[in-house]
């Protein structure tokens, strides 16, 4: 098992599986309510033209989140 990296460090087009939420604050709860759970597969679709925010795809829908929030989602890149 590869060491988890930050979701914000994932390459564009790459998929990963969520491993950990190092910060259990209200913000991370809302991320989980939106379906980002440990074990959920996400794909980094693109970054916005200025590099931030990110667009990810999970559970069949697209979500935009800022890099500063994506820093608190640790993922394990999938093949």
């Amino acid at each position: 098992m590869a060491a988890p990296i930050k979701l914000s460090e994932l390459a564009v087009g790459a998929s990963a599986v969520i491993r950990e939420f190092p910060k259990a604050d209200p913000a991370s709860i809302r991320l989980r309510e939106m379906g980002l759970l440990v074990g959920t597969r996400v794909t980094l679709v693109r970054t916005a033209p200025l590099g931030d925010p990110l667009e990810i795809k999970l559970r069949g829908y697209h979500l935009s989140l800022r890099k500063s929030d994506a820093d608190y989602v640790l993922v394990e890149p999938a093949e």
Partner: protein, 707 residues
Amino acid sequence: MALPSHISSTLAHPSSTRTPVYALVGNPNCGKTTLFNALTGLKQKVGNYPGVTVEKKIGTAYSQHGQPITVIDLPGAYSLAARSPDEAVTRDVLLGRRADTAQPDRILCIIDATNLERNLYLVHQILDLGRPVILVVNMMDLAAAAGLTVRISRLEQALGIPVIACEAVNGKGLIELKVAMSRPDLPLARHAWDVPAAIAPAVTELQASLVSHDCKAPFIARAEALLLLTDHDSVRVAGSTPLHARTAEILHTWQKRWEDEGTDWAGALVNSRYDAIGRIAAEVILQTGETGPTPSDKIDAVVTHSVWGWAVLGAVMTLLFISIFTLAEPPMNWIDDQTAILATWVKHAMPDGDLRDLVTTGVIGGVGGVIKFLPQILILFFSIGLLESTGYMARAAFIMDRLMNRVGLNGKSFIPLLSSHACAIPGIMATRTIEDPKDRLVTILVAPLMSCSARLPVYLLMIAALVPGDRVPLLTKVSIMIFMYALGTLGAFGFAWLFKRTLLKGAPPLMIMELPPYRLPRVKDVALNMLERGALFLRRAGTLILGISIILWFLSAYPRAPDGTTDQQQLAQSFAGRAGHLLEPAIKPLGFDWQIGIGLISSFAAREVFVSTMGVVFNAEATDDTAPLRQAMLAAKWPDGRPLFTPLVCFTLMIFYVFAMQCMSTIAIVKRETNSWKWPLFQTAYMTGTAWILSFVVYQAGTALGF
């Protein structure tokens, strides 16, 4: 919480004449508004929840037998653990926490078939409430196109409630839905899921306290207990009943205990809900087709591209402004003509006197001057609605977020601010899509700094007076204009930055935003929304506009000059004229005299009124051509013979108009949108204060430099 499936619920008063009340709930972007419009048609009432600026929409649908059914369209929500005022209202209505809205008898949940799992999260929370629920699975056609088969009967089996497949856009499934809604009794959900063991005792204890202290029904109490445990810092809004002290105490004791133990209590509850949903989804969804890039993905490859994205954004915004200015012009002229015709008609119909003058000049003239902007406002509402319903709005916010973040705002402030270049009113009303209350307030506070179309005639007049010669070179005109627009925009961002750093400081909120698939706009829904917002504006600002119009008329009409005096003399010796004199010491350091002072006061009706007031003040023929007025203004002198409208004064006056808050309609709307007089007054003070200081600096520095 497994319930025997034979339990069913009957409406509270099946035999009484009370119409059953349904609450319509669903995630944002799931087609809820389309379904609501399809169910209720034009039988809707739009208002506000008292104390909060959240739209309250209630409509009447008719059952198969023609019985009326009340439907409350609750704001879109991802979860009942509210993170925005919209979601807080949805939560509070469903939990019966709002005294102004009756707790709904039944709940209509609408979900997006293409996005079943996340949509089911809210449904899962709602089923906890123990109320009869009908589930509408919308966008079945889009799911099929995406290669998904949603097995409705399996879903019905798993949940134990009526589930209806639907395509709200073309009315498919509507009859079946109405049949279900007309049923005298509905089965309650077969709703089993495991509350995590660590949390279960807290749920029981909270539930007991909610029943005994907060007088909740057992089911609602349980749902509320579960909700309180997912909510770290729930959003409280006005009108919501607070928790009993004992209940709050129990909650804090448990939370503290878990925090000390390191238990991720809120996360555990979310996980267990998704576990249950995952089991249902595995039964219900069949991936039958290939999942290549969807049409939406292909559009996004261009629209959010690092180069093409800007081009598309620029093109969309240019088109928006061209359409506002070209489409709005004919109806604006028409309204101008009609108010003139109406005023003439009244003039003939009424006997000569003050009352006639009040009606023609004060009421018809004053209100007409504001109504004139209605076409522009409506076109903006329509355009914003179009951008929202196609899904482009979210992309514009996605592209602009980084830039807006520099001043502490987020991407969703972009369209409201940009729209304010045409008119701040639709811009301010469009800030309702900004979830974070602080970001929303800051956007409202700075929006009127964006130069609006009512400032345009003032700028044009000043540029004409500023530049010598009869014909102003286009380049000069354009560059001064661009400078003023840029100054306003810069000011707006500067103040946003300042307010976010001082007045409305706070940790940056989580900025997440769904990028929904592109959809063809539903012109009918967008048009309906435009009319509702237009009516809302008139209703909200109407009284104030009427009142201020009458006051402004009174100020310029009294005291009466003796018969035979000209309009110019009348205005000069009126209260407005005296106010101008009174104002002169305050504006003299800016290079303005009392006559310009009258113009500043009258601009309060709408900034462009400055031009017509100057026409009266300097006794110039009122025509479409500014040349006579320009001549008259250039001839105007101070008592000591110095010319009044020097290029520096014209320039300073423009600076003043960029920053000053001089629009009663905007003040009325800000009052409504912030629910207090505090913010519009603050806004008027800071804007006008800035206008004064900057004008002072420009005029004094300019004078010192010899301009």
